[in-house]
């Protein structure tokens, strides 16, 4: 392709690139800079060195959000790696009506987190369906405080995340399962391997890279959890905000009343480094196990 003027590619790129730079690269650089200042959200601010980061070390609210977020990752990631894989195996075989089931299992993915949150808060409220059934079957004396106890709220939010993510990762796994050669599975069957052994020794090693991908995506998604906790608690993150997550706290500190943009930026940098570290860690873990 000769004779093209040098600026032609840039004309094609310009609009998208301008948006990426103005609304991602610049805010990111700004976040990094602000994290070393005492800027308020209204403006101003002077350079304060690493003061914000030192303050983080002794900020109980911040550590609470970090603990909650880590717990979220620790529970949600294994669930989202394993359950959608089992589900994909279940819907892989082309039996009658399977297309319908696949589509239906995907439908929670399409709903917004707010809608999911409202539906689940109705299910889990004190006089909601779950509590009515638990009491009706005499499994609980009083209403279980799914939404008003900080720990239970966090676990309810996790359950909702898993519920909403199942279908998405199921589709991701289906693509991987389709690539498992039929001949290998048939050979194993001829050798007398049952369904479970075929899955463990033939399918599993082949979908491993996809499991790593899913683990990474789920871990990063969980690190950014916000809407689940927010909508299930009507914006309060539980009594005293004790179910707060990192993003919840960033928003509260940076954009709430008396917003401290500088301090919230330091937290944001921690979040960024955390998600970066997570994806590196998952990849590392995988390559080490593969060598072993």
């Amino acid at each position: 392709m000769t004779g093209r003027r040098w600026y032609v590619p840039w004309l094609f790129l310009l609009p998208a690139l301008a948006i990426a730079v103005c609304f991602f690269i610049v805010p990111f650089a700004n976040t990094a800079v602000l994290s070393f200042t005492d800027a308020s959200t209204l403006g101003g601010g002077t350079f304060t060195g690493t003061h914000n980061y030192a303050r983080l070390l002794h900020d109980e609210q911040f550590w609470q959000s970090v603990r909650n977020t880590l717990l979220y990752i620790a529970v949600v990631v294994p669930c989202l790696v394993v359950l959608p894989l089992l589900l994909a195996v279940l819907v892989q075989k082309r039996i009658a009506g399977i297309g319908f089931f696949r589509a239906v299992f995907y439908s929670p993915v399409v709903a917004s987190m707010v809608v999911a949150g409202l539906i689940w808060s109705w299910l889990l409220s004190d006089d909601g369906l779950v509590n009515s059934v638990l009491r009706g079957l005499h499994l609980a004396a009083g209403p279980v405080p799914f939404l008003t106890d900080a720990h239970l709220l966090l676990f309810s939010a996790m359950a909702m995340t898993v519920w909403k993510g199942l279908g998405y990762y199921m589709v991701v796994y289906l693509a991987a399962l389709a690539n498992v050669p039929r001949s290998l599975l048939e050979a194993a069957e001829v050798d007398g391997a049952g369904a479970v052994r075929r899955f463990r020794h033939v399918t599993l090693p082949l979908v491993r890279p996809t499991m790593v991908l899913v683990a990474t995506l789920a871990a990063i998604g969980s690190a950014k959890v916000f809407a689940e906790v927010y909508t299930l608690s009507d914006g309060s993150a539980g009594p005293g905000g004790e179910a707060r997550t990192l993003v919840y706290t960033i928003r509260e500190v940076g954009l709430g009343l008396g917003g401290e943009a500088g301090y919230a930026s330091a937290m944001s940098i921690v979040l960024f480094l955390g998600t970066l570290g997570l994806s590196v860690a998952v990849t590392r873990l995988n390559s080490r196990e593969e060598r072993a």
């Binding site: 032609v8 590619p9 840039w10 094609f12 790129l13 998208a16 948006i19 990426a20 730079v21 991602f24 690269i25 805010p27 990111f28 700004n30 976040t31 602000l34 959200t41 279940l90 039996i95 089931f101 589509a103 239906v104 299992f105 995907y106 439908s107 929670p108 399409v110 709903a111 917004s112 987190m113 707010v114 809608v115 999911a116 949150g117 409202l118 689940w120 109705w122 909601g128 369906l129 009515s132 079957l137 519920w163 589709v171 991701v172 693509a175 391997a193 991908l213 990063i220 950014k224 809407a227 909508t231 009507d234 993003v247 960033i250 940076g254 954009l255 943009a261 944001s268 960024f272 970066l276």
Partner: protein
């Protein structure tokens, strides 16, 4: 698990059909397996759509009907659309839905157009700085939006974009994912597709618009759907950037509906149904593009 041969199977005694025992045993096992499979499918079905159906049932129940207590009343005895009308009366839901639609359609248009333009340049042209440009788009995919939202708010405010629908739309107007999906699609096009046009002396824009773009319609559809759903479902950024209630999108408005306007579960349920049904319809109508998008986005993203 290896006992496919069951010599004592009754059919084996039939002298005329000595070869049938294995298939019969197998058939019985397959039938059992199939039943088990459908039972599991039904269970997962109940878990995934049960919550939606319960919400739908609640929204259709009359004021005199029980929405809680044991045993739960699963179906409304006297279904009514009364609460849907009530939502429309108490909350400007249609106005919010209109706002969401404007933002979502704007996002579809810009992601398709700007994303494919950028993707085309990255895939089909060689020039200095291409790696840098691709790197910038990749960076936007790696940086979590949540980690820059405070600065994003400051940028939007300095551009007078807070409290505007344009401001809600623009950060996602040409997402890195759209650009990369389009780049990958254009890369897969064989070079010959454009060669004839080059010989005819067609310019870059003509080649892009007339030849390359129509060849990647499938990916374009996936990008359009992704952009629509992402924008329609987005909660955090509209929540952060909008304080003027008349600019609320549906997600922020519907969250606001619960607790603020009413505590009647039937009305809240009606409101959530109104927010989710259009998307479910869109999804069931365009399933294959949804699934295609997930496959491409997850593998390459």
């Amino acid at each position: 698990m290896t006992t496919l041969q069951t010599p004592q199977a009754p059919v084996a005694a039939d002298p005329r059909r000595p070869a049938t025992p294995v298939p019969t045993a197998r058939r019985v096992r397959t039938a059992a397996g199939l039943t088990g499979r459908y039972l599991l499918l039904a269970l997962v079905f109940a878990l995934t759509v049960g919550p939606f159906l319960w919400q739908l049932s609640t929204s259709l129940k009359g004021n005199g009907e029980r929405v809680f207590g044991y045993p739960p009343q699963l179906l409304p005895a006297h279904p009514t659309l009364h609460h849907y009308a009530e939502v429309l009366d108490t909350v400007p839901v249609l106005h919010y839905a209109g706002n969401s639609l404007v933002v979502a359609l704007g996002s579809v248009l810009s992601n398709c157009l700007l994303g494919s333009m950028a993707g085309y340049a990255l895939a089909r042209m060689t020039f200095r700085g291409r790696g840098l440009a691709a790197g910038i788009f990749l960076a936007t995919m790696i940086i979590p939006f949540e980690s820059i939202m405070v600065s994003e708010f400051l940028v939007a405010r300095s551009l007078h974009l807070t409290d505007t629908l344009l401001g809600v739309m623009i950060p996602g107007a040409a997402s890195g994912l759209s650009v990369m999906l389009m780049r990958n699609a254009f890369r897969r096009l064989p070079a010959e597709v454009e060669e004839a046009a080059v010989l005819d002396g067609a310019g870059e824009w003509t080649r892009f618009w007339r030849i390359a773009l129509p060849s990647v319609r499938g990916t374009l559809a996936a990008v359009a759907i992704f952009s629509f759903v992402f924008s329609w479902d987005d909660f955090l950024w509209p929540l952060v950037s909008l304080s003027d209630q008349s600019k609320y999108t549906l997600t922020v408005g519907i969250q606001y509906l619960s607790g603020t306007f009413t505590n009647d579960q039937r009305v809240i349920a009606a409101g959530t149904m109104m927010a989710v049904v259009p998307l479910l319809v869109l999804f069931f109508a365009l399933q294959r593009f949804f699934f295609r998008g997930v496959g491409e986005g997850a593998v390459k993203g």
